[in-house]
Structure formats: C-alpha cells, structure tokens
C-alpha cells in the first residue's frame, strides 16, 4: 500500500468523537439543505436552469484555450494585467513581485479558494507582508490559526460561544459577548481601518468573461467590494477553468451558484470589474492584475472523463448533502477543498500518492450528483480515481501508488469465482458450511468487522434451496 502522507481515516475517526463539532455541522447542514430545496422547489425551472448552467460550463471547456486567450486579450485592452502561473509556487512569486514593486506592507483579502490552494497567506507572512482575511468567516478562521472547513462558510465548524471566546482572546478592544450583531460589529470596526489603509487587495474570481474581459465576484458582506475598490492595487487570482464565453452566460451560473450555496436567490452584491480606475474616475484601484493558475488543471483537462471536474462552480452544495462530510466536517480532509468535490479534485491536483485516500471517503450514494447544479458525475469520477490509484498509468499523478498485491489477488479470485459456475458453487457451499466459524479477526475480514458485526451465513445456499423447489441451475 502506498504511503499516504495525509490520514483521512484517522482524522475522521477523531472528528466523529467530537460531539460539539458534530452538533455544529449537523445543525448547519440540515438548515442549508432544507433552505436550498425551497429555492429549487419548481422542478421544471431547476431542470431548465441546471441544463443551461451545465451547457455554459461545457461550452467554456470545449473552447478553453481560445477563451483564455480571448480573456487575456480583452482584459489587457481594458487595462487589466494578465499573468499565467503553471504552479502555485509560480503564482505566489507573481503576487510577491507585484507586492514588492509597490512596497506593500498590508494586504486585505476577499474570500478566495485559489489563494487557499496557494497557501498565499503563509507565503506572504514569511516575507513580512501582513495578509488579512476580510470575509468574516475567513477572518475568524485566520484568528483561530485554523483552516476553513467549508468552501462557502469557512467557520461553520465553530459555534457562537467558541467565536466569542476567540474574539475576546485575540482582539484587543473586544468585550466578551455572545451577541452575533455585536461580534459582527466588532469585526466591522477592526477591518474598516484595515480597508482604508491596505496597500493591496487580493480577491478570487467566481467567473471571468472572455467576451468582455470582466471579472465577476459574488458576496454578501461588502468585503469583496472593499478589497477590490479601496486599495491602490487589486490582484485577482483564478483557476484557469473559471472562464465563461459570453456575458449572458453569467446570469444562469450566478443563479445556480447563490441558490445552491446559501439558498439565496442572489447574493447582496454581484460585483463585475472590467478595468482599473480610468482617467477622471475618483476611486478604484490604479492597477488590476489577474493571475491565471493551472496547478494541475491542464492535466485534468486532458482526460475526457476527469475533465468534468473542471465544470465546478464551487457552490459547496455537494458538501452540504454528503453523508460523509456532514458527519466528519471539513477539517478531516486536511485540504483546501473538502467534501465530494475535494475528494475528486485534490487527488488530481496533488497526486494520488498524497491524496489517494480521499476518493474512498465516499459511500457512492450519489446525493452530490443529484444536487450538483452543473451535473458533474462526481461518483463516477470517484470510482475512476479509486481505480487509477491501484493501476499504474499516466492519466493522474501517482496512478498505481496504492496498488496492493493482496487486494489485487482478492479481486482476481473474486472475478475467477464469478466467471465459473463450478467455482462459484464450491465457494458458496464452503461459506455456508464454514463461514460462521471463521473468526472475525482474520486479516482481511478484520477491516470490515472492526466497525461492523459479521454477517451470519445461511447454512444452505440460495442455489440449493432453489433446486429443492425444482428450479434447475442454468
């Protein structure tokens, strides 16, 4: 068995023991699921907009290289400077060089999952640049020196009491309160000062429009608008799959995104940015940089089936509906993207050696596929990655790294037994006689029986019973 440097099984067992955490997640996920269902109560509308959303994403993928070139050309024409990064190291270096040129000391960040993927905060802080998260959830997680546990609601694993204690402990002017309005107001006061004085604003991108060279951001708090409007320099980071062809492709995707993510018909702000401050304009950044990140995505794109991973609009609905995620929470995945999408994306981005365990964090129940607003066949991809992990090949980095002789032998034996009626009869008859006597501590059996009771074998096989009733073997 290949070494897995990240242990989901262990982390999830620990998470399952944490009753506080389970309660926090259960409450939040139940609320999200029922509210989302209300948003999509009109089945015909859901089917229509979902098909449209999926077609928009597929059309974008079908022309991905051309659309990225068009995006670059239109952004450049609008005055947005475009940079390309093959790896997260390269993306970090690009961001750093911009910051050094403008002598940046303080950066405010809007929520960006790609910047989590880049570990940008840690990277900049090591180089003496203060990097402040301004989305309230991200701010909480940053104060707690933790990782986001959900891609939409980063601090979903904490309850009000825990956040109240954290604020009291970490923010100088804080008085202890469990009043959410007061806690929010405190964050408002602290961060306002930072927005006003920050040298650079960093944001993600929900969608980039090739046709017009426009960056679209959705948010509720106004921190995204602050980060992209107040500081003199704005740096936007995006995964290369985030492009759409036309401006009219934006409304259906936003509608699917906000309803799936937080059950809102729309977020408070839809922020569409097409250029830095122009001659005569009184505010807005003087420079905008767009960093387009690959980080393994072009490899994913090369495979016809795995490519579907890149349709994702990062709504997080698959997490909210996943029987595994909702029990163990986001931290057990130890990845910027947890839940079903994380379980298929992380192994492809970081390789199966490191992340080969994640496609197994799945019961194959298909709940995620049913609610995915852009119809990603998540479970099929999960199965494909399980298979890639044990078969050497070049579609995914680390393919074959989890190959095990014992497992291969079991499967071989299983398929031989099922291919031969004689072997099958023999095997089932043997199990009917001896199955109940086999100790639960047998090496392979133990994997199953240490968390489940061993099934009882009937002492006559189904075939034998059928024969008795006069039904012949075929």
């Amino acid at each position: 068995m290949g070494e897995s440097s990240i242990n989901f099984a262990k982390a999830s067992s620990a998470a399952l023991q944490d009753q506080q955490l389970r309660g926090n997640f259960r409450r939040a996920m139940d609320g999200l699921m029922s509210k989302r269902a209300v948003q999509f109560a009109d089945t015909a509308e859901w089917n229509g907009v979902r098909a449209l959303g999926a077609s928009v994403r597929l059309r974008a993928l079908s022309k991905l290289p051309e659309l990225l070139e068009k995006l670059e050309a239109n952004c450049t024409r609008n005055g947005i400077q475009v940079h390309w990064a093959a790896t997260t190291d390269e993306a970090n270096a690009i961001v750093l060089s911009i910051m050094q040129r403008v002598n940046a000391k303080l950066v405010v960040k809007g929520k960006s999952m790609v910047s989590e993927e880049m570990h940008l905060n840690a990277f900049l802080e090591k180089r003496g640049i203060e990097c402040l998260e301004s989305d309230l959830g991200e701010y909480i997680v940053q104060l707690d020196e933790a990782m986001p546990s959900h891609i939409i609601m980063p601090a979903i694993h904490m309850n009000t009491k825990q956040i109240a204690h954290l604020f009291k402990q970490k923010i100088k002017e804080a008085e202890y309160t469990e009043d959410v309005a007061q806690l929010t107001d405190l964050a408002r006061r602290v961060l306002r000062k930072k927005f006003a004085t920050a040298d650079v604003g960093v944001s993600g991108v929900n969608m980039a429009v090739a046709e017009t060279g426009t960056l679209c951001l959705v948010e509720n708090e106004g921190n995204g608008r602050m980060s992209t409007t107040v500081p003199p320099v704005h740096i936007a980071v995006m995964g290369l799959e985030k492009v759409v062809e036309k401006l009219e492709d934006v409304p259906p995707v936003i509608s699917l995104l906000t309803r799936s993510a937080t059950a809102q018909p729309i977020t408070t702000y839809v922020n569409m940015i097409s250029s830095p401050r122009k001659e005569g304009e009184k505010d807005g950044p003087d420079e905008i940089h767009l960093v387009i990140l690959d980080n393994g995505r072009s490899g994913i794109y090369a495979d016809e089936e795995l490519r579907n991973t890149l349709r994702c609009i990062r709504c997080g609905a698959c997490m909210n509906h996943c029987p595994v995620y909702t029990k163990v929470g986001g931290h057990a995945y130890q990845a910027p993207y947890p839940g079903p999408i994380g379980s298929i994306l992380m192994p492809q981005v970081e390789g199966l050696e490191k992340r080969g365990e994640l496609p197994h964090a799945c019961t194959m129940c298909n709940a995620c596929v049913e609610i995915c607003p852009v119809k990603i066949p998540i479970v099929e991809i999960m199965g494909r990655l399980r298979s890639e992990a044990v078969h050497p090949g070049d579609a995914v980095r680390g393919a074959g790294s989890h190959a095990s002789k014992a497992e291969a032998m079991v499967w071989k034996g299983w398929s031989m037994t099922y291919a031969s009626p004689l072997a099958y009869q023999f095997a089932t008859a043997l199990l009917a006689k001896l199955g109940n006597a086999a100790p639960t501590s047998l090496p392979l059996l133990k994997e199953w029986t240490n968390v489940r009771t061993k099934p009882r074998f009937a002492n006559r096989t189904l075939h034998a019973l059928a024969r008795e009733k006069g039904i012949p073997d075929v």
Binding site: L52, A54, P154, M226, V250, V270, K278, G284, I292
Partner: protein, 219 residues
C-alpha cells in the same frame, strides 16, 4: 512569465484536440420565460428586498429631494455624500434647505478625503439603472460623477429607483441594453444592505458595507 502561458495553452490545446468536446446547446428559454406584469414587478422587488432588510421610501419626481431630506432628518443622519456633477446632485443641492443634514460632495479623488469617508460619513445617495424582479436587485453602474465607494462605505446607502425602470431578470437587463458591447469599469447588482451569516448561520446586517439600504422609489 510567457513561458508558462505558452506551456499552459499548449497543453490545453493538445488535450482538447485529442478529445474534442461537443457541448449541448445553451437554451436560455428558462430565463426568457420569466415574466411579471408591470405592477407585479415592483411588488416582487419590494417583497424580496424587504425580506433582506431593505427599506423603501415612496416619492415623486417633484418631491424626492425634500422627502429624502425629511427622511434623513428624522433618522438623525448628520450628513449625506452625493455626486455634485450629476443631474440628481444638482436637484438635491438646489432643493436642500438649511438645518438638514450636511451635504458632502464627492468631488475629488478618494485619496483626498479617505479618512473622512471611512470615519465620518453617515449616508450616501446614488442613482440606479433600474431594478430586477426575479431576484430583487438594483442595477448600479458607478461613474466618475458618482464613484464606486458612494454605495459602499457610508453606513446608509440611499438608491434612487425610477418606478418605470424595471426588468424581469438580470439576463433581460443585460441583453436588452447590450451590456456586452461595452462594460463600465464596475457594474453592480445590489440586493440589500451588507450581511453575513458566518457566525453560526445567524444573519447579521451591516458587516463591511452599508448597514442600511433605502430604496427611494420615484414615480
């Protein structure tokens, strides 16, 4: 870093050409068919926006400056940021009477009054390009005369909405007005005051942007 650019694009091209992808047609009928009658549109906009704590002030073309002043005075608002070079700004300053909240013009680059903007301004007033019935959203395109931060930094945002500038969907607004032919520096949809649910899913208003959004409906 054009080396990476070419490598990335080359890889994408090779990947796609080896396995081309035929996407299904994009059928926008689901958006095209979303329609509401004239009166229904405004009702729906109000209902949806009120559900997220937006306030409404009904007024007329003749009376709106006086009504805005009366409203702000009643709220105890100390001052109002406005764009002096717009038609609306001219109306406002000529109709404003003594004793009301102080009118503060956004006349210079933000750098000249950033501190005051972030610390001393209670309200800001902007125009809108209309509103959207489907989602209950205002369409706001900031301009040099009506800059971006006016609708973001002051604690209260007043937005003038002409009662006849209503659309069914975001898609209808952008396609009918051919936005794709020329996008402004910044185009916004605003659907309520700033809010968050990041603390245990409890909704709180006024996190980083305005705490209050007041839509002034002008008939």
């Amino acid at each position: 870093m054009s080396e990476s650019r070419n490598a990335i694009l080359g890889k994408l091209r090779a990947g796609r050409d080896a396995h081309p992808l035929t996407p299904p047609e994009s059928d926008f009928a689901v958006l095209r068919n979303k329609r509401w009658d004239g009166a229904e549109r405004l009702e729906r906009i109000k209902r949806m926006m009120e559900a997220v704590h937006t306030e409404f002030l009904e007024t007329t073309e003749a009376d709106w400056p006086a009504d805005v002043q009366a409203f702000l005075t009643a709220q105890g608002t100390r001052n109002l940021l406005f764009g002096p070079a717009t038609e609306v700004g001219a109306r406002l300053s000529s109709a404003w009477t003594d004793g009301g909240p102080e009118l503060i013009p956004y006349a210079d680059r933000v750098e000249t009054f950033k501190e005051r903007l972030f610390d001393g301004i209670d309200a800001g007033i902007t125009t809108t390009l209309g509103a959207i019935a489907d989602t209950g959203s205002l369409i706001v395109w900031p301009t040099p005369e009506e800059p971006r931060l006016m609708s973001l930094v002051p604690h209260m945002h007043l937005a003038l909405l002409r009662a006849d500038a209503l659309y069914d969907t975001f898609w209808q607004a952008m396609t009918e007005n051919r936005w794709a032919d020329g996008m402004p520096t910044n185009a916004l949809l605003i659907s309520g005051p700033s809010k968050t649910a990041d603390i245990e899913q409890t909704l709180a208003y006024g996190v980083h942007g305005p705490k209050r959004l007041v839509v002034v409906i002008v008939r």
